[in-house]
Amino acid sequence: MKRLVGIVGVGQTHHRSKNTDCNGQELISIAVKRALESAELTMADIDAIVVGNMDHFESINYVDMWSVDGSGGYMKPIMKVTTGGTTGSAIGHAGFYHAASGLFDTVLVIGWEQNSESDTTAAISTCFDPITEREYSAGAIGPLAAHYIAYMSKYGATEEDAALVSVRDHNNAALYNPYAHLRQTIAVEDVMKSAYISYPIKLLDICPRTDGACAVIVASEKKARKITDKPAWILGVGDCHILVHLADGIGLANLPSLEIAARQAYEMAGITDPFNQIDVAELYVPASTAGVSWMEALGLCEEGGGPRLIRSGVTNMGGKLPINPSGGVLATNPIGATGLLRIGEAALQVMGKAEKKQVEGAKVVVATGFGGCFWSDVTVLSSLPRLD
């Protein structure tokens, strides 16, 4: 039995590099309050909670139990899902399954990270095998950098192509997203002049470390229709964790997990012509280089077509398929929340509540998540309950 499930509320904190004025619990409660307000609900309306957070970053074990004060989950069903960078999108999917199962009607999904409380790269590096990979794998940045080398060699992409992604996302955040962490207007020259932190990735090519939280409320169809006129229906979900050994992922020029997850989500949602059916995309782009090489995995262009697509301007605001009106991950990256922010921002677009970031007429929006060993999640949201 396939039940229709939709997002009815989204809340997020104003993301910052360091929240010295609140602790982790308080950070969570801000996002939760805002999500409840946006849906005009109270904690009493929430049937279950799903949380996501990278425990090694803030160094808190069993963080689902720790979070009860901040999440309002006292005496509620609570579960934690964590999959690395894809955590945010994985919890979005977990919330979807909570409601789609028929066991719960209104589910609160919360992702957060106080990245200022950790040495993020050191923490991420512990995901790599201590015996065969950890020594020379610098967190997320090193592997992402090496991955683009393979793409550049195979398809002739350049550092300037990546700079275009950086310019697009940073400027979107500056112009349209008051919640974003980094809001700076930059140009390609600024990116090209910034220092290499892990060749070929430069300082302005990489995502920041952010303190922030995001909460999304998911509801089953009957409840959703009562709560709001325009729920963001979750029409497609796909998850793919395809690799274990980092070195196997880096050898490939593209991202097979994103291709497979997209195929699952598109099939479920009824998307057969992604470039024309999708109105807006909130893509998990942790480094500008990924913004060039990963679009083809979503079927938005031909193989090796990343540079052509980014140079065409079609993905800028005002173009045919705006990508990252929120500024994306390059502007805001509280890791446990980042994937959920993509889903939340996509939901806001479809609900017509994206304010300054709103793309007019957005009916079908795709959100992606990335993390772990080149793993991906894809979510398709729409204001329509069906696409056929």
Binding site: A122, P130, T132, G142, A150, I250
Partner: protein, 160 residues
């Protein structure tokens, strides 16, 4: 010019806890490390069904999902698939000390292997490195069963 008054600095309390782990290598990595230490060679494991050879060796073939048991030596030479020169420091979680930078991470496909490994190149100038270079492992004399020590680094094989 207005001088902004700074607020009081936050009180900070330090509590450092060591969290040591003894990672168990398991049967497959143990064999891999013993071969490095005792026989100065790199071994992989071969799938009985599809014939793919995996380095480092592991229990299951990812495509066939069958248990692999045949260990085979692979070459100490290979091809550079991708690389990066990391130039920012972070805490090495093994030592607790900041990582020495810059270092060049090399993603290598050894001849005879159907999967890749990650190791180090000595060269740190990106203008002198490109994907496709041929490399060879440089072993240490006093090997201890540590992949990153027993092979010290990979060197570029110059054309004769």
């Amino acid at each position: 010019m207005e001088v902004k008054k700074e607020g009081p600095k936050p009180l900070s309390v330090s509590y450092v806890a060591d969290m040591p782990y003894k990672y168990h290598a398991g049967h497959y990595y143990s064999r891999f490390l013993r071969e490095l230490r005792d026989n100065k060679r790199i071994v992989g494991v071969k799938c009985p069904k599809c014939g793919k050879t995996y380095v480092p060796p592991r229990i299951v073939c990812r495509d066939c999902f069958v248990k692999m048991e045949e260990f085979v030596p692979v070459s100490d030479k290979g091809t550079l698939l991708a690389f990066t020169i990391t130039n920012f420091s972070y805490i090495d979680t093994t030592t607790g000390e900041p990582k020495k930078i810059p270092f060049t991470a090399a993603f290598i496909n050894l001849d005879g292997a159907d999967s890749n490994i990650v190791h180090r190149l000595e060269e740190t100038d990106e203008k002198k490195i490109k994907a496709g270079l041929r490399l060879q492992a440089v072993f240490s004399d006093n090997r201890t069963g540590d992949f990153f020590h027993d092979i010290d680094h990979f060197r570029v094989i110059k054309d004769i």
